[in-house]
Symmetry: C2
Subunit: 213 residues, 2 copies
């Protein structure tokens, strides 16, 4: 490892600069995994992409699986920061449910994923491969869905949604809209994908509101 | 190529027996692609899986891309035969829309795809790879969605659904339910995935029915 490489990896362990370096590496890993798949992501390929030495990256991550896990965790951190945190600034209730939906729809753009949402592609790759990567993905996905359900529950508490709205069912259906949007925009080249996703979400929200009497 | 191999490939060109052989090869390709991905599917791997000679399979398909295209076409044929055809036996209108939904939900079981629906996984792999495989997938997916929309249109003509129901929007939302079911059952291990998919579909159908006055 060259001297500048050494200090580069040393920086990984030091406060702010180290975090920046770590983030730059993981941001590269996320972009790359979005394009070639989380399974396609290798330490060698990432080293080439970032013009770093393979041995240096290997010394840091230790294994391809660790790189995969760190990439998922990084994506989840960014999701929390750029999707969840701003949505929490919206007023509790229907506005926050909507803010969460809107931000999630734009997530692969807000945190650049040129091959589309990493979680969708990684889920397809790992759903039938038991192990730590699948577990991490599943736990993260469950957490995201249940966070959304929590926002729906608060919308009911605020009187924006009816008492008989099932938050988990609502969250399942929103997930469907988000993934249908993913496929319609990315594979079907459907110019109406965004409009369709919004119409579906609006219908769901309308149906959840207390009926006017 | 051994003599029995030669007659095996010769059989591919002859009526019924040839079709059976072709179907057996493509059924194996579909199963394998469902597990390892359409991009992971190679002539060598398929030859090993089916205990056939690689050179024989290569002589037949010519290239990995042709194998991928034939596998998609075979899946589409089976979908037409085992999902669409039986659904057409259901009475036109809401019953047929429901029959199509139910059969599509069971599609990866009706035509064994141990790694889940090939179209979902292949879409994720190929949505950002321009070329004949992506085009074939996109065309097939559009065709399926627009066939579903046609059934919805007929449900309106039959008076089962309201005049202002948008068939393409309905079809987009059903697609969302089907894909959400795919992820909830395969990655999230959600024991309620099937129940949730049905509740979502029922709500969509209820909302489409003419209001009683």
């Amino acid at each position: 490892m060259a001297e500048n490489e050494r200090s580069f990896y040393f920086a990984l362990c030091v406060a702010t600069k180290g975090e920046q370096t770590r983030d730059a590496i993981l941001e590269g890993a996320l972009k790359l995994a979005s394009r070639v798949g989380l399974e396609g992501l290798s330490i060698g390929m990432l080293a080439e992409e970032l013009a770093l030495s393979k041995s240096g990256l290997f010394a840091h991550f230790g294994s391809k699986e660790t790189l995969q896990l760190r990439t998922i965790e990084y994506a989840a951190e960014r999701f929390a920061e750029l999707i969840v945190k701003p949505a929490l600034a919206a007023p509790r209730g229907e506005p926050r449910v909507r803010a969460l939906f809107e931000a999630t729809l734009r997530w692969p753009v807000l945190v650049p994923q040129p091959g589309g949402c990493l979680f969708v592609s990684a889920a397809v790759e790992f759903d039938d491969r038991p192990g730590p990567v699948r577990n991490r993905l599943r736990d993260y996905w469950r957490q995201r869905v249940s966070f959304f359900a929590g926002a729906v529950r608060k919308a009911t508490e605020a009187g924006h949604f009816r008492r008989d709205v099932d938050p988990d069912q609502f969250s399942f259906e929103v997930d469907g809209i988000l993934i249908a949007y993913h496929f319609a925009s990315r594979l079907l080249d459907d110019p109406k994908a965004d409009e369709r996703a919004h119409r579906a979400f609006d219908a769901l929200v309308s149906a959840a509101r207390p009926s006017r009497r």
